[in-house]
Symmetry: C2
Subunit: 135 residues, 2 copies
Amino acid sequence: MLLAADGQKYTTARRAIVSALAAMGHPATIAELLAASPGLAASTAYRNMTVLGAAGIVIRLGGTDEFARFELSEELSGQHHHHVVCTDCGLVLDTGSSPGLEAALTESIRDITQAGGFEITGHRLELVGRCGSCQ
Amino acid sequence: MLLAADGQKYTTARRAIVSALAAMGHPATIAELLAASPGLAASTAYRNMTVLGAAGIVIRLGGTDEFARFELSEELSGQHHHHVVCTDCGLVLDTGSSPGLEAALTESIRDITQAGGFEITGHRLELVGRCGSCQ
DNA sequence: ATTAGAATGAGAACCATTCTTATTTCAATC
DNA sequence: GATTGAAATAAGAATGGTTCTCATTCTAAT
């Protein structure tokens, strides 16, 4: 298991966080996780997001609004995807990628790597707009 | 001028912020702006980033680290571009886009819009890696 | 069972950002 | 150039999401 590989324990609180994230279906804020997991302390949630992040289990999204959002890593949750974010309420949903888009991204990354300086290891794409309920 | 169109004045402080951003050459944090603009108060800088943002002059980047970063809007600074961010130090640089990439993005956006729900108005792409000095 | 080390929970502390308010500046008019 | 009312500034207080502290509880391997 990933946590054990990182020298950590798979505790009740961490189980609760991972299963809440899986049940959520979209990147969740700490507030959402606390609401979905009765008995989970805020300090424990924040601390474990760091631990789970270091173990490669969850990904932290630097949000558009003031709340950080977390989701299971692509390795655990399914396949590579991008995000659609609402500029009004901050909602973030997953959206699939397409081969054409990924090919174009790969090409851009190759160009930048060759231009020197940065060593690119991944990418993050957000499609920005307004969700159904905010329109 | 954009500020006047928004009912605001082009004051000394705002001039200082805009020219500091232009001189910086890459998205800057408030701390960097304060260091580059002697006499600029922090509260004034924060307040004016909001005003300049509402007027479409600056864009706020929800950073990878704990600091918000600001840059001149594409309309003022040049052409459409994306960002390269360092996972270690948080540095953000601009990088151009390519016609192929933009075409693939446009296609993806069309698919998502047709799938209903969101109305997409823009996109944000970050290529993630490590900068030269952090490698 | 025991035990040593790690995790938890409650609240305090932190710090980037926002708000408050008295003072100053702006720009338009006289 | 002086006046004036509205908007901007600056300094510090306040806010709030996140992180830290530490005494207690749990974990897992002996």
